[in-house]
């Protein structure tokens, strides 16, 4: 790349010619504040917080979208620039619902941060405020437009990253809001509840539907036997809420924190992930051997399941009939665990801690219950668990490393990696390869399906047979695979799809990192490392070698895909109509 010479604040620098002024300034240690900017997702120059003075230009320029050019003279920090930034942020604040003390994003709000950084102490503007709309009708998402600053990040995350486009700008001028078509509730939009809009929202305009109170109530209820399960990806990110570097695995502290909160049993969704591999692997072998519908596609990600139900209902028979690990766990907690411990399933209360906001809606699906007893009672996000830990006044960093309870808390390395894109595929191949070869294969690392590339394809030769697989993450990539399948151009046998970019580690329920972090760190890759290193450190790395899984089948289910397993662990799907027209 060619270099150009630019002058910033009186000093000359040689910088690559493909940078923006914002990037160029940052490479030489000069920070320009931003608000709407989010690298690769929202580079639109809408908010004008990043303005700089450029010699020869009449107006101040938005540095986030201004390419550098030879001989450019830029001032990032004179009185004119500082005043313009302050005025802009004051105007945004004047039309913002400033209930910061009770806002769930307080202390993790980019508007609050930029206001503090610019030294705003007074808001001179007291004109009209746009009327807000508060929508908490869905099980997953709360939309509060009184806090929206119209940055457009959610619009882009939904439309450009996920390829869905539920949210967009509506109306014009002062009346502009961001919302779904016809301002329907998020409950009535074909939203998959992935929550990618929430993790990019700089403020508290899009947040998860809170469910902490239900958990506290259950913990206080002496008649309830409260069991918690924690998903694989939670341990890869929870530490971020307590100041740990991104990618720190906090499995031990997570177990201790859950125990301190007072749950009766601390179990692990990883165990259920191992069950999923047994069921899904067997289903795949069945389809391969009996001419079943191929490719078979994974069904762990409820956002992904909603996506195909809304957008590709003609391909639903490609989905594995397996419930997600969350719901397999719930169904087995209220049958297998209940029976072994002589507890009435109606007294068991299952809480799941998930990196996911779509899981909150998944547990409400009518078919996910056994004889009227819901598989899972409450699903909270990683962020909500962090809030519970803080409310309980635990000093997270001082917690001893604990362990999950045996029985439904023992897991293999295969279960751990479910949280990263490619993980389910790798876990499945580990088991399918052993079954097909009849051996205990030593190599378990299938690195071709790892990493954050959008679509990964691989051919794995097992016992002389080529198994063609594909892995896609984020629904825009999923659509590419589905279009191929629909056109008859896909010869895969097995496909893994996760709704969120990077898989569950980057789910909509995970800790929210501000643009200042996301612009420089690939959080998907860092969090995934935390899971792969735990997998590598475990002695049992294949689901079918987990002794607790063997016990489950020996003592309760019989065989994978047995009649009993089907009753408890398998489900079905529906075609859903987008925006049904009401007369």
């Amino acid at each position: 790349m060619k270099n150009v010479t630019i002058t910033i604040n009186g000093n000359q620098y040689a910088v690559p010619s493909d940078l923006t002024v914002l990037e160029a300034a940052r490479t030489v240690g000069i920070d320009i504040p931003t608000l709407c900017f989010l690298k690769d997702i929202n580079e639109v120059g809408a908010c004008r917080v990043c303005v700089v003075e450029v010699e020869g230009a009449r107006a101040l320029q938005a540095s986030c979208v201004l390419p550098v050019r030879e001989g450019m003279v830029v001032k990032t920090n004179n009185q004119r620039v500082r005043n313009a930034r302050k005025t802009t942020v004051e105007l945004i604040l004047a039309n913002h619902n400033r209930e910061c003390t009770t806002c769930v994003r307080s202390k993790n709000c980019e508007l609050q941060s930029v206001s503090e950084e610019l030294g705003i102490r007074d808001i001179r503007y007291t004109g009209a405020k746009r009327e807000g709309k508060y929508d908490n009708f869905s099980h997953s998402i709360v939309r509060d437009s009184s806090k929206c600053i119209l940055c457009g990040r959610c619009v882009s995350a939904c439309k450009n990253v996920q390829g869905i486009g539920i949210l967009d700008f509506v109306n014009r001028g002062f009346e502009t809001t961001v919302g779904p078509a016809f301002e329907v509730s998020m409950k009535d939009a074909p939203c998959i509840y992935c929550g990618q809009c929430m993790v990019v929202c700089p403020v508290g305009a899009l947040t998860e539907k809170p469910a902490i109170d239900k958990v506290w109530d259950a913990l206080e209820d002496p008649k309830k036997h409260v069991i918690v399960q924690s998903a694989p990806a939670v341990r890869a990110a929870l530490g971020e809420e307590f100041g740990y570097p991104i990618g720190t695995n906090v499995t031990g502290k997570l177990a201790s924190a859950l125990r301190n909160l007072g749950f009766d049993k601390i179990f692990d969704t990883n165990w259920a992930a191992d069950v999923t591999i047994m069921e899904e692997g067997t289903e795949l072998l069945g389809r391969l051997q009996n001419g079943g519908k191929l490719p078979m596609i994974t069904s762990c990600s409820p956002g992904w399941v909603r996506f195909i139900e809304f957008n590709y209902p003609d391909l639903l028979d490609h989905l594995s009939s397996c419930k997600s690990p969350q719901n397999m766990f719930g169904a087995l907690a209220k049958s297998y665990y209940a029976e072994k411990n002589n507890i009435d399933p109606k007294d068991i209360f299952v809480v799941s801690v998930m990196p996911c906001t779509s899981k909150k809606s998944e547990i409400e699906r009518p078919e996910l219950a056994v004889e009227g007893v819901r598989d899972v009672d409450v699903s909270i996000t990683t962020r909500e668990l962090a809030r519970m830990i803080k409310e309980a006044r635990m000093e997270f960093d001082k917690l001893e490393d604990g362990t999950f309870d045996p029985f439904m808390g023992d897991y293999s390395g295969a279960g751990v990696i479910f949280g990263a894109t490619g993980g389910v595929m790798e876990a499945a191949i580990r088991t399918v390869a052993d079954v097909l070869t009849g051996e205990d294969l030593e190599n378990v690392d299938y690195t071709a399906v790892r990493g954050v590339e959008g679509i990964k394809e691989a051919t794995v030769n097992i016992a002389g047979k080529d198994i063609k697989v594909a892995v896609a993450h984020n629904t825009k990539n999923a659509a590419i695979i589905l279009d191929k399948i629909r056109a008859g151009e896909a010869d895969y046998h097995f496909v893994e799809i996760m709704a969120c970019p990077g898989g569950c580690v980057n789910g909509g329920g995970q800790p929210i990192q501000p643009a200042s972090v996301r612009n420089v760190i690939d959080i998907r890759a860092e969090r995934a490392k935390a899971l792969y290193s735990e997998d590598a450190a475990l002695t049992v790395r294949k689901s079918h070698k987990n002794p607790e899984i063997k016990r489950l089948y020996d003592e309760y289910l019989g065989e994978p895909n047995s009649h009993k397993a089907h009753d408890l662990l398998h489900t079905h799907y529906y075609a859903r109509e987008k925006y049904p027209v009401q007369d």
Binding site: L167, D168, V170, N171, R172, G179, F182, Y579
Partner: protein, 159 residues
């Protein structure tokens, strides 16, 4: 809405408009213009067809429709009453004309009567300040009005 404007015939016209535009760059605006013309409005049922055929998210289409005032979500009535609220008309009392029209037809500014007969809108200056205050009903122009003129004008269209 008494009138059925969502007819199979209109949808067939829409399909051919979409077909003619779908391979061009930026087909949405021309298709919306035609849709507004065909149906007299672009309600959800029409937007859904456009969304599916052009593969553009419904929220984006809704955003465009609500951005431009030429597009409407509901059809206008048979008779569109526009009262000028430009400066000259306003100081000559056009607000009183609006109030009287609302009283007689039950239609407030920006809405359409339940029988689909009248729509009422307040416009900016229409360039006939010499005739202030001015109102139009479809293509008929009425100038130098006083409130007492309004009942007679409305009666002409009430039929």
């Amino acid at each position: 809405m008494a009138k059925n404007f969502l007819t199979a015939e209109n949808f067939a016209k829409l399909e051919s408009v979409i077909e003619a535009h779908k391979d061009m760059q930026g087909p949405l605006m021309p298709v919306l213009h035609e849709a507004q013309h065909i149906f007299g409005a672009i309600p959800m049922a029409v937007q859904k067809v456009i969304s599916e055929k052009l593969n553009v998210p419904l929220a984006e289409i809704y955003g465009v429709v609500t951005f431009y005032s030429q597009f409407t979500l509901e059809p206008k009535g048979d008779f569109l009453i526009s009262v000028c609220l430009g400066t000259a008309c306003y100081v000559k009392g056009s607000q009183k004309l609006i109030d009287k029209i609302t009283e007689l037809t039950g239609v407030s500014v920006g809405t359409t009567s339940a029988d689909g007969k009248f729509s009422l809108e307040a416009t900016r200056c229409i360039g006939a300040c010499g005739l202030a205050p001015v109102m139009t009903v479809n293509d008929d122009v009425y100038g130098r009005l006083v409130v007492e003129d309004v009942p007679g004008i409305i009666a002409k269209y009430q039929g």
